[in-house]
Amino acid sequence: MNAYINNYELLCNAGNTQELMQAVYAKESAIVVDTTYLKDATAGLGKMSYDTIFTAMKEVTQKVLKSSNLENFHNTLLILGSSVGGMQECEEIFYAQSSFKNIDANRYSMNALSDYLLETFKFCNARALSTACTSSANALVLAKRLIDVEAYDNILVMGVDGLCYSTVLGFYSLSVLSNKQCTPFDANRNGMNVAEAVAALLIQNEKQSTSVELKGVGASSDAYHMTNPDPTASGAIASMKNAIEDADLSIEDIDYINAHGTATIANDKVESLALETLFSNKTYISSTKAITGHTLGAAGAVEAIVSCEVIKQSLVPPQTGLETLDNTHINVPLVPIEMRVKNVLSNSFAFGGNNTSLVFGV
């Protein structure tokens, strides 16, 4: 069985799917310079408008259900990817009370989010994954494989992460947090923007007229360092090769690559090397994190939706924020490119050297 992405929706700092794509093509970053999280410094962050992460998830999930061919999710598996789970709420209680006493342990971890959706929408079952910044990309990997082996007909993949003090201050402590809007692949880039998002994709075994196929998935581990990518780019190359092979495609079949492109010195250097090695300077590459920031565990799902939109709109996204290309051996467009886009590769890389690549196509 093939896996088709039939419906999707998201909420991020730029708004919903339609608003995000407008911002992507207009090169309008939705990153704000924040002064509340850090004591003596500013941070470029991707903040979305919402009440709680739970209401945001419910709203996005309801929209996907309404646009789908399903009456409910009773015959649908939920696979949710997140890196912080219920941390936002637990942090708030802990900082207010300086104690764990009033924290509900069931609302701390990843299942705080998936249990809420399971209860609200009565999915047939739910699983939550957490591999840091590849969490929802890996949720898509499992979804494709479960459809392939005919274990499920319908799977809703969610990528969810809300902003937390732990992540903003954590990335700041690693000296990789930018104090302004991030500039992926730029020679003068100065780091990433932590951001938040909720993204949902309904994957089904039946093709519809507007379907985008999840054609291939690939993953690898660097086995090199907990936070720094392997400088030889072997892990990134392996995950991309695995995904393209799984899709039964060749390098030349890929029309556009939505890069991980966090704008940290290390990631962009190594990812550029991997892209240069595999694609030389032929294939268009850009990172939409210049608009959304890095939505951590939600990034794979957010960028899967961007990839589907690129295919449907036949329009390659330009690189926002780029002034001087660091690696001149890759093809990063500065303006939107109108062309038939048949296949898109999307990369997600995470702490621990966890690499995941996905191929979407028609």
């Binding site: 004591k39 890196s83 789970g85 941390m87 942090e91 802990f94 900082y95 300086s98 104690s99 764990f100 006493k101 924290i103 342990a105 069931n106 701390y108 971890s109 990843m110 299942n111 705080a112 998936s114 249990d115 699983r127 939550a128 994954l129 957490s130 591999t131 840091a132 890996n138 990997v141 499992l142 494989r145 479960l146 392939d148 082996v149 274990a151 499920y152 732990s166 201050l169 954590g170 990335f171 700041y172 402590s173 690693l174 000296s175 993953a219 690898s220 581990s221 660097d222 086995a223 090199y224 360092h225 907990m226 936070t227 892990g235 392996a238 995470a350 702490f351 621990g352 050297g353 966890n354």
Partner: protein, 215 residues
């Protein structure tokens, strides 16, 4: 629902009221610098991997609370208006333990980390079964909880054992007359997030090494 048959080729489980003290870190990780950075979950995983004689291949790791100690350190730093330690932050992600395992064993294969609350070990088993089915390879399936942090008594209402883990190596086989559903043999006092995997290890110890699992 699709069910597949698995053969368990090796298995191990450990649990301790406060701290597991036989993890043989010095033998398993001779490099002191690396050893000092390991989290408790990583040390337990390295021990279980050694007991199961697994070093390279696909890994599915499960933990409901994962690196609770590092997360608590970060939260206390923020509370005290200090910057978190970069090491604590890098070690706070849920895939820390399998990432250290792969780093130490130079294992470049896929890692999936499951965190499904009290359903974690059954979800980990299902995911490992899928990975074994799709790849045709042996898969290391492991679930660990290490929650022995300062003031844990303020929040712990779910386990008598603050450190515990279970692991198996599986491969897909054709169903035979020996293939059994997972028995409900609860290990008293162990956190529910590990129970199903503990049961599979107990079955293996009792000579039942073929299980059926629903994907």
């Amino acid at each position: 629902m699709k069910k597949i048959a698995l053969k368990v080729t090796s298995a191990s489980k450990v649990y301790a009221k406060e701290k597991l003290d036989m993890l043989e870190e010095k033998r398993l990780v001779p490099n002191m610098m690396t050893r000092r950075r390991l989290t408790r979950n990583a040390k337990v995983m390295l021990y279980l991997g050694d007991q199961c004689q697994f070093t390279t291949g696909k890994i599915v790791y499960g933990s409901c609370y994962s690196e609770l100690e590092e997360t608590a350190r970060i939260a206390n730093s923020v509370l005290n208006k200090e910057l978190p330690s970069p090491i604590s932050f890098q070690n706070s992600v849920y895939n820390t333990a399998p990432s250290y395992f792969s780093l130490i064993h130079k294992n470049k294969e896929e890692i999936i980390t499951v965190s499904s609350g009290m359903q974690t070990s059954i979800a980990t088993l299902k995911t490992a079964a899928l990975q074994a089915l799709v790849s045709g390879e042996k898969v290391f399936c492991v679930a660990i909880e290490c929650i022995n942090i300062k003031n844990i008594e303020e929040i712990n209402r779910c386990t008598e054992y603050l450190e515990a883990g279970a692991a198996i190596v599986i491969e897909v086989i054709k169903e035979t007359e020996h293939t059994k559903e997972i028995e409900n043999s609860k290990t008293h006092g162990v956190i529910d997030s590990l129970q199903e995997l503990m049961s599979v290890v107990t079955m293996f110890e009792n000579g039942l090494d073929e299980i059926l699992i629903e994907l």
